[in-house]
Symmetry: none
Subunit: 100 residues, 2 copies
């Protein structure tokens, strides 16, 4: 049938919160901080942490820790792999939109 299938896409992106996080990170020229993500997504801290950990474990995002004014600061960016998976997702959606 050749229907582009969501089942062939990265399983972690099936969740709409994680897809939104990945969209934000892949659209941003710079890595984003935890608080920047938190503000935008309106999640609890625990909930956001848990999504970020899953994305990090799957190597879809890169986590960097640095010190700014002696305070630790963690930022999150899209990995090359993550960018590839987001692109694949978008291409699937676009080809489905074209079929109609």
């Amino acid at each position: 049938m050749g229907t582009p299938s969501f089942l062939k896409l990265h399983p972690l992106l099936g969740d709409r919160v994680r897809l939104t996080i990945m969209a934000m990170l892949s659209a941003s020229p710079d890595p984003l901080s935890f608080n920047e993500l938190l503000e935008e997504l309106e999640l609890t801290k625990g909930n956001l942490s848990s999504h970020l950990r899953k994305l990090e474990d799957a190597k879809l995002i890169k986590v960097e820790k640095e010190f700014v004014d002696r305070k630790p600061r963690t930022t999150y960016g899209c990995s090359a792999e993550g960018r590839k998976e987001v692109k694949k997702y978008l291409e699937t959606v676009e080809s489905l939109l074209k079929q109609k």
Copy 2:
């Protein structure tokens, strides 16, 4: 960023199996049989039945029963409502991911 727009989408489409079923049905010119869906999706029969029932209850698909060579045959097609919701879903994902 328009993040909360995801929350306005049909909740049943958040599941990627159901989204794939809806994508298949909305792309197909003719209704599909249970076995056609089963082959494409590689699910168990029970699992597929349960997804189809949810979609039918939500009126996103139309279920038709007919007799072919005296055997009952059930086919599944996208309802107008289902088509609308799939389009809205895909367009939202597209605009979210296209922000690059």
